[in-house]
């Protein structure tokens, strides 16, 4: 039986140290809405849907709503990530006040993923840390990850069963290895992703590896089957950045300029556990719109709710694009990070009332 008081103290201290880390580096802490009209479009994610009722509200006139944008009735969604909202802030521009803009922002918030269950690493509600930097790319974010975790290891000192474990303390030597998906597939399966760019080619390669792929309908399906069977189980316990994912799996990321088959995206694994997902942001609003439309089609094909395109998000990208500003952002699962730091095996060990 876990001690709830000790867990509360540990979690509060953990989040406080993270806030200190980012404030020290001049990040502004923000709080964006948890309930939104347009969530992210990731094809595999299911959102929690709710509805905003306006039937019983008095008829709204511009005067009644203070002249601002009035709330319309209709569907609302719980965020599966604050990503779009945070990029809206990053692209925020005030024509009357040039000082009103953001350089570096971070947020700690709850996120929700419907149907996301199974095993010791998933919960339909969890705590996400996201941070964004202007004039930076994903390499800067990898260094951020190293600095954040090594700082937490030296500053956190829980005096309870939630104590820092010796195993976690040995994480410290950075930089941590960075290995691309291309190198990783080559190393563990002898398969080159670049030489197997088509569905047919990769299917043939997977068959040679003796994997169950009958149900795989797309190139990405086969990619994941190989990854889950041959790579993830063989990842080291020590920290490792897996970088440069296939572009088809990074709809909001910038492509690699020397090899556009891949995108500038990475995930950090410690103990074989995926902790974060990050990328150099795509800031071209036209290209972004194309990719969102493609994802809308994918969602429709999969029988999932199709969301409208968030025009405010595209406007924010346009602001970044016209001022030639690059950006990069990272989404970090905090419950899992706490698990890794204090050597707990199940996400429920760090949650109060698991759902």
């Amino acid at each position: 039986m876990k001690n709830h008081l000790h867990l509360a103290i540990a979690r509060a201290e953990f989040e406080q140290q993270i806030r200190n880390f980012f404030k020290k580096r001049d990040f502004v802490e923000v709080q964006t809405p948890i309930m939104v009209k347009t969530p992210g479009m990731e094809p595999h994610l299911n959102v929690f849907e709710t509805k905003f009722y306006d039937k019983n509200c008095p008829r709204r006139t511009p005067a009644a709503t203070g002249g601002g944008k009035s709330a319309e009735g209709g569907p609302r969604y719980l965020n599966h990530s604050p990503e779009l909202q945070m990029k809206k802030l990053l692209g925020h521009k005030n024509p009357f006040d040039k000082t009103d803009h953001f350089e570096k922002i971070f947020q700690i918030t709850k996120v929700f993923r419907n149907g996301e269950i199974g095993g010791p690493l998933h919960s339909p509600e969890f705590t996400m840390l996201e941070w964004y930097r202007k004039n930076a790319d994903y390499k800067t974010l990898m260094t951020d990850c190293e600095n954040l975790i090594t700082t937490l290891q030296t500053t956190l000192n829980f005096k309870s069963e939630f104590s820092m474990q010796p195993a976690a303390r040995t994480l410290q030597q950075s930089p941590w290895p960075r290995i691309s998906t291309q190198e990783l597939f080559q190393k563990h399966t002898g398969t080159s992703l670049l030489k197997n760019r088509t569905y047919k080619q990769l299917k043939k390669a997977a068959k040679k590896l003796d994997l169950p792929i009958k149900s795989c309908k797309t190139w990405d399906d086969i990619f994941f089957t190989i990854f889950l069977n041959k790579i993830e189980p063989n990842l080291p316990k020590t920290p490792i950045f897996i970088t440069d994912y296939p572009a088809s799996q990074a709809a909001l990321a910038r492509l690699k300029s020397n090899e556009p088959f891949f995108a500038e995206r990475f995930e950090l694994y410690i103990n074989g556990i995926e902790l974060c997902n990050a990328f150099s942001e795509l800031t071209d609003p036209k290209e972004q719109r194309k990719r969102l439309i493609k994802e809308q089609r994918q969602r429709k094909k999969m029988g999932k709710t199709v969301f409208p395109i968030d025009e405010d998000f595209l406007k924010a990208l346009k602001n970044l694009h016209t001022s030639k500003t690059t950006a990069a952002g990272c989404a970090f699962g905090l419950d899992r990070l706490l698990m890794v730091l204090i050597n707990k095996q199940n996400i429920e060990d760090v949650l109060f009332f698991p759902l």
């Binding site: 039986m1 876990k2 001690n3 000790h6 990731e42 595999h44 994610l45 299911n46 599966h80 993923r113 149907g115 996301e116 269950i117 199974g118 095993g119 998933h122 309870s160 069963e161 003796d210 169950p212 792929i213 009958k214 149900s215 795989c216 990405d220 399906d221 990619f223 994941f224 089957t225 990854f227 889950l228 069977n229 189980p233 799996q249």
Partner: protein, 185 residues
């Protein structure tokens, strides 16, 4: 044919022309790349253990099986001996087939044997079982640094984490799948 989303622990499937017992099955819907089921499969002909992750929707063939009540008799160091409750027929399994269930077997334990094509191939013990605590240290009040738990040896020989108030000679209920304390018996 069974779709793999319904692959569950205890099921016997045909995979690569061999019968495999699903020793462990975990459905995972991770939010990227679609749902899958992580399994640990035990080859019922060779005892070989493998780990395979099936995409949700991947179809596998299941094998007809029969579950019959049996009783644990004894172990001779290498093998564990059982008796069919109806036919009184005796059979035995090696340690590796019994796996974690061996931690909870005491003479006379009622369990189920799994038969494929008339042959017993594995054993299933009840998910919750009652045991007497044989040995444990006296609990110290206010000692919460260890999370309020201590170790206790139960009559089958297994060591279980129990709350501090549990005393020697008391009966406790144990979750045999997780190896954890449930409540006082």
């Amino acid at each position: 044919m069974a779709s793999t989303t319904t692959i569950t622990k205890g099921l016997v499937i045909l995979y690569k022309n061999n019968p495999w017992l699903v020793a462990d099955a975990q459905f995972v819907n991770p939010g990227k790349g679609g749902a899958f089921t992580r399994t640990r499969l035990k080859n019922l002909k060779t005892d070989q253990l493998i780990e395979i992750t099936f995409r949700s929707g991947e179809a596998v063939e299941t094998l007809e099986t029969l579950r019959k009540k049996c009783q644990y008799l004894y172990n001779d160091g290498a093998n564990y001996h059982f008796m069919d409750n109806e036919s009184y027929e005796q059979f035995d399994f090696s340690k590796s087939i019994i796996a974690d269930a061996k931690n909870y077997l005491i003479d006379g334990t009622e369990c189920y044997a799994l038969y494929i094509e008339g042959k017993p191939v594995s054993i299933q013990i009840p998910p919750k079982m009652t045991f007497t605590v044989m040995q444990t240290t006296p609990g110290v009040k206010g000692d919460t640094a260890t999370g309020g738990s201590k170790e206790a040896t139960i009559e089958s020989g297994a060591v279980i984490k129990v709350p501090l108030f549990i005393k020697e000679g008391e009966k406790i209920i144990v979750n045999t799948e997780e190896g954890t304390y449930v409540s006082k018996g």
